[in-house]
């Protein structure tokens, strides 16, 4: 039981940064834009959040700082692909490398700087629940906030007027135009909002989970987020499951090793990717998920 708690609690802690990024990417892709640069957006968020906390000394500054940095980079990406009609995939990769370079340069002085980041808050009452208390209610505040962001994104996309505009921009942009709304503007806003969430995800990684900054610290989490959105069928709740599944797979690797189970480390390293891929592809095949029709298309 205690092993299971360790695994699921680790899944939530380790999956949260990916969850934020994947929720942001969900909004972006629902509007018709694949942002492969999410890896870079997370990275600038991680550095901006970390640097802000080091300079100001209050962990909460990480949220606006990470969100602003992520939004700014995503807005640049959005401008290039929407208004200059550049290839979304190619631009995304360029943005990722740009972010890697910028953060290596400006992050050098923050490497191993001491940070008073977020600490673990045990939620009263809920935290005392057997199993669920330790798994869901003994984390940093950014994890708790993500519990609210998931339904908020769902509501935004599927219940609000804004969501209708976003989804139309991703399905039938010409219908939006006929309706008198600029699909370009809707996409720009959606991608920027997505970037803000990815930036917060990066900030969670640096100021709550790892409590350190090092160059390239997102280590592929942004790419995992993009994949989760596609395999998660562009639905917030399923994306959440995918993010936790990925986190769980990493923790399973640690836990098996701690218990001295004879496992091949190189298999363990590939395990999170394989497990997430298999589970989500299996789900996707059964239900025949449809991508937004204008996904990846220029206007």
């Amino acid at each position: 039981m205690s092993v299971l708690i360790t695994i699921v609690a680790g899944a939530v802690a380790g999956g949260t940064s990916i969850l934020y990024a994947a929720l942001g990417e969900t909004i972006s892709e629902r509007a018709g834009v694949i942002n492969v640069g999410t890896e870079g957006t997370m990275l600038v968020g991680a550095l901006a959040g970390f640097a802000a906390v080091v300079e100001v000394g209050n962990p909460w500054i990480a949220i606006p700082a990470g969100a602003a940095a992520g939004a700014a980079l995503a807005a640049v990406f959005a401008f290039v692909v929407i208004y200059r009609k550049a290839s979304q995939l190619a631009t995304g990769l360029v943005v990722m490398f740009l972010a890697l370079g910028i953060t290596s340069l400006y992050g050098a002085s923050y490497v191993s700087a001491d940070v008073h980041g977020f600490t673990t808050w045990k939620i009263p009452v809920l935290g005392a629940l057997p199993f669920f208390g330790r798994v869901f209610f003994e984390h940093d505040p950014l994890v708790y906030i993500s519990y609210f962001v998931v339904p908020a994104v769902w509501w935004l996309l599927f219940r609000s007027r804004w969501g209708l505009l976003i989804r139309t921009a991703g399905e039938r942009p010409e219908a939006l135009r006929a309706y008198g709304v600029s699909p370009s503007l809707v996409r720009l806003v959606a991608v920027t909002l997505g970037g803000a969430l990815a930036g917060i995800g990066g900030a969670q990684l640096s100021t709550a989970l790892a409590l350190s900054w090092s160059e390239g610290m997102t280590a592929g989490r942004g790419f995992v987020a993009v994949a989760l959105v596609i395999f998660g069928g562009w639905r917030p709740l399923r994306v959440m499951g995918g993010a936790y599944l990925f986190g769980a797979a990493i923790t399973i690797g640690s836990v098996l090793q701690v218990h001295g189970v004879q496992v091949n480390q190189f298999v363990l390293d590939a395990f999170p990717y394989v497990l997430t891929l298999v589970v989500l592809v299996a789900l996707m095949r059964r239900e025949g998920q449809q991508a937004p029709e204008a996904l990846g298309q220029s206007l």
Binding site: V111, A210, V261, V263
Partner: protein
């Protein structure tokens, strides 16, 4: 962190070395065998000297990570800075964040194009590229930090490293005395011989003062992925480990994770006591300057080929000519006087030539790897492929 503190950190290694040399010289007059030896530096080739690297006025350094990572790469960079200070006439070229791919060859070729005749290839995984480079450029000396070249070693190449395991063994003593649960946690990157050596040395050091202690090991599959480090640390702490150590290039996350849970930490690569004011025990700290200066002097004198350096060279506390490139970092507040005395005694034994890998060394399966009374040979250490009894963890087969 304040600017002055950062500056202090950056130059702490060479300053510390200088201080150690001065201290040793004043305290022991340089005569005692336990004093840190001082290296005589040659900065330019005498006339008539010939051989690989002679006449070098430019030296290239290649690092796998950021040279300001406060870890492994910064320590190598600090060595380069020390060399540059000792020899102001020599131009130092540096390339950092160079992956362990043919990018290393490209960087080295560019440096050679700019006149470099000595290349420091400072990452473990550069080895194959370094050996090819040495074969390609017989007039350039290629020095490979860590790893092992299967003999014959090219006349213009080598590998060099510190006997890191000696320091890690001493740090293991501190961990073995500090633990209350009898469980130590080790966050490692890859199961390469260098890392296995460290894990084993840590466990052996701890066992020497606490026979029942166990070291739980997690490999993260990356030299620096703080997210995975956090996960590994949390798994170890959940299992009851109350001292964490690591073999990672970036070290902040594991230390902060231990401190947050009230556990102890043993550092690696640099003195990170400021990250863990309560739980810091000690750690290992690099000082490459004297070894770099010593190798460069030998090369410039035209005496590299066939010298002790022209091999798989490893340097420890017992050297009478060059200070060990690694030593213990300052102790944290919780380390008791008795523990310090135990460590001092063990260090004295190592200084006198005793190896922490003196048999019987038994692996996890109970097989005797080093016979009773025998010390492990350099090749046995460099090719370590097992974990000792008492380590919980597994090596991919």
């Amino acid at each position: 962190m304040t600017d002055s503190k950062k500056l202090f950190r950056r130059y702490r290694l060479p300053l510390g070395a200088a201080a150690a040399v001065v201290l040793a010289a004043t305290a022991f007059g340089g005569a005692s065998s336990s004093a840190a030896p001082k290296v005589a530096v040659t900065c330019s080739s005498p006339s008539g000297a010939s051989g690989p690297g002679t006449g070098a006025t430019t030296i290239g350094f290649i690092y796998v990570g950021s040279k300001t990572d406060f870890g492994y790469n910064e320590a190598a960079h600090a060595g380069a800075v020390a060399l540059g200070k000792a020899c102001p006439n020599i131009k130092i070229l540096e390339a950092d964040s160079i992956p362990e791919t043919s990018d290393m060859t490209t960087a080295a070729e560019q440096m050679i194009g700019q006149g470099a005749k000595i290349i420091f290839s400072t990452s473990y995984g550069y080895k194959d590229y370094a050996v090819s480079l040495a074969k390609e450029h017989s007039d350039v000396a290629v020095l490979q930090q860590g790893n092992f070249i299967t003999p014959p070693v090219p006349p213009n190449a080598n590998t060099y490293f510190g006997n890191v395991y000696e320091t890690v063994y001493l740090a293991g003593i501190a961990a073995g005395k500090a633990t209350k649960t009898g469980k130590l946690g080790f966050v490692a990157a890859f199961p390469i011989p260098q890392t296995l050596l460290n894990i084993n040395a840590f466990e052996l050091g701890a066992q020497s003062v606490n026979p029942k202690v166990k070291t739980y090991t997690v490999f993260t599959g990356s030299w620096c992925d703080p997210g995975k480090q956090a996960d590994a640390a949390s798994s170890l702490l959940s299992e009851g480990a109350d001292v964490l150590t690591q073999h990672q290039d970036c070290t902040g996350t594991v230390i902060k994770a231990a401190e947050a849970k009230g556990a102890f930490s043993v550092g690696y690569h640099y003195d990170a006591q400021s990250l863990a004011p309560k739980g810091w025990l000690t750690g290992s700290d690099w000082n490459w300057g004297p070894l770099y200066e010593s190798m460069v002097s030998t090369i410039l004198n035209g005496k590299f080929t066939g010298s002790v350096f022209n091999t798989n060279y490893s340097l420890g506390f017992s050297s009478k000519t060059i200070p060990s490139p690694m030593d213990l970092a300052p102790y944290g507040p919780s380390v008791k006087a008795g523990t310090k005395a135990l460590i001092a005694t063990a260090k004295k034994k190592i200084l006198a030539g005793w190896s922490p890998f003196t048999g019987p060394i038994v692996d996890q399966s109970g097989k005797i790897e080093v016979a009773k009374g025998k010390a492990a040979t350099a090749a046995q250490l460099a090719g370590m492929g097992y974990l000792v009894k008492g380590v919980v963890g597994s090596i991919p087969k």
